[in-house]
């Protein structure tokens, strides 16, 4: 017993290190904090309140960036507006000829961004709308420019959005012009990456990328970004495609939460299928 005690005292640091490492790995196996239940709502509410208290403090870099982005967007929108007016007329005519149903419009909740959290490259935004306003986990968030993220935490009056610039971003997407499907990932810088697109697929710089109808997390046809770069990769059957996000996370000030939830029956079925042991290698998760 005495020798054991001496051993523990002598190697106290190494034993403590081993213990803490084991505890850390055990906690990692627990997974996301969402599994800790109500604690997360307390964290979201407290941090949201603090960020809203200091929301009046201006961020000159962000303001300058926002100003530039808005000017560009304004120019772009004025050009597109003229095109859309013409297209709407044509669309209405053609739809009536084909007897198609009108597009579905989603109900939205407008919210102000009261805080942004950049914690070791994890980008989140806090908005001043929460569960009492109808915001729920998993709802997509957009701006006038396009998709910005997804709600990952709510308290009564606040919600946290996980922005596109996040390691967990995986969105089933489609190139609007050519209907080529792929998966959008964040690759750690200003661009997103459209993966799993074969070399022979028709993708060009400037193409608009939208959410796919295959997505179980986002409604179809929400603009994600534009293709900025396309290149062949040696020894690969896929192309390297970089997508510039349409919505600039650094300039977010207002967002809309889309009151949309995936069909639970479809999600349950797909989850059940991809969790079968033989199919685990194909599990995409969270698209």
């Amino acid at each position: 017993m005495q020798r054991l005690f001496e051993f523990v005292v002598r190697y106290r640091n190494y034993i403590t290190l081993a213990l803490l490492v084991v505890i850390s790995f055990s906690l990692m196996s627990v997974g996301e904090l969402s599994r800790l239940g109500g604690f997360r709502a307390v964290v979201v509410g407290s941090i949201g309140w603090m960020q809203s208290v200091f929301a009046w403090v201006p961020n000159p870099v962000a303001l300058q960036s926002e100003n530039t982005a808005l000017r560009e967007l304004n120019l772009q929108l004025s050009i597109e507006s003229a095109r859309y007016r013409q297209a709407m007329v044509e669309n209405a005519t053609l739809r009536s000829m084909l007897e198609l149903l009108p597009h579905t419009d989603y109900s939205m909740i407008a919210a102000d961004v009261v805080g942004k959290t950049t914690a070791e490259l994890r980008n989140f935004a806090t908005i001043n709308r929460g569960s009492v306003h109808g915001v729920e986990m998993g709802m997509p968030c957009i701006t006038d420019a396009g998709l910005v993220g997804i709600v990952v935490g709510t308290s009564e009056n606040y919600a946290v959005i996980r922005l596109l610039e996040n390691r967990d971003t995986r969105i089933a997407a489609r190139v609007h012009r050519s209907s080529v499907d792929g998966i959008v990932h964040w690759q750690g810088d200003a661009f997103l990456s459209l993966k799993d697109v074969p070399k022979n697929a028709d993708v060009k710089a400037g193409d608009v990328v939208v959410s796919s109808r295959f997505s179980t997390r986002f409604p179809a046809n929400i603009v994600i970004g534009t293709v900025a770069f396309v290149a062949d990769v040696e020894n690969s059957v896929f192309q390297r495609i970089l997508v510039r996000p349409m919505a600039d996370a650094s300039t977010l000030s207002q967002v809309f939460v889309v009151r949309w939830q995936p069909d639970p029956e479809r999600v349950a079925l797909e989850d059940r299928v991809v969790q079968r042991p033989t199919d685990r290698g194909q599990a995409g998760g969270g698209r």
Partner: protein
């Protein structure tokens, strides 16, 4: 800082741990609420790493690890990420920083350029471990990601470490 910790209330180890916990909580809140104003391309300094290095240099490897684990766990909880990833990285950072501990020489180390070298060294190790787990769900090259973001975060943290270094340096001169 030894003058702060030589005050009677900090002679009690429990109170010292409590003080570290309070400082860790304050730094976490500062990180989440205010660091967006000084972020460069989403890169921010790691204030909690500085606290861990400080604790390790002042009190040794054991306390450095405990503070690292506690501060990392707190940060994981507040930043809604995988629980344990920061705790692991900061525990290892506290362990490595503890190798530079010299009894009674904590302030001398912190007040010298050695602090910057220690922060750079432990920062690299911390980010190597952290980004290894961070990048796992992403389909991108670990080294490419680490060389851009890990190095940037380490350098930014080192730059911020000059403030406590200069502060302690001046106090030592008094």
């Amino acid at each position: 800082m030894s003058t702060y910790f030589s005050m009677s209330m900090f002679d009690n180890p429990a109170l010292r741990y409590l003080a570290y916990a309070v400082v860790a909580l304050l730094l976490s809140v500062v990180h989440m609420v205010f660091l967006k104003y000084v972020s460069v391309q989403s890169v921010t300094p790691d204030l909690l790493l500085l606290l861990v290095v400080w604790a390790a240099l002042m009190e040794g490897q054991y306390v450095g690890m405990i503070v690292g684990f506690g501060a990392g766990l707190l940060f994981d909880m507040l930043t809604t990420d995988v629980l344990g990833s920061n705790a692991l990285a900061k525990t290892l950072a506290g362990f490595m920083a503890g190798y530079f501990y010299r009894e009674g020489m904590g302030l001398a180390t912190i007040g010298s350029y050695r602090l910057l070298l220690i922060v750079t060294f432990t920062g690299f190790l911390h980010n190597l471990v952290y980004f290894f787990f961070y990048i796992k769900p992403m389909q991108t090259s670990f080294w490419e990601f680490f060389l851009v973001n890990g190095v940037a975060t380490t350098l930014y943290t080192t730059v911020v470490a000059t403030f406590p270094m200069l502060l302690v340096n001046r106090r030592n001169e008094w």
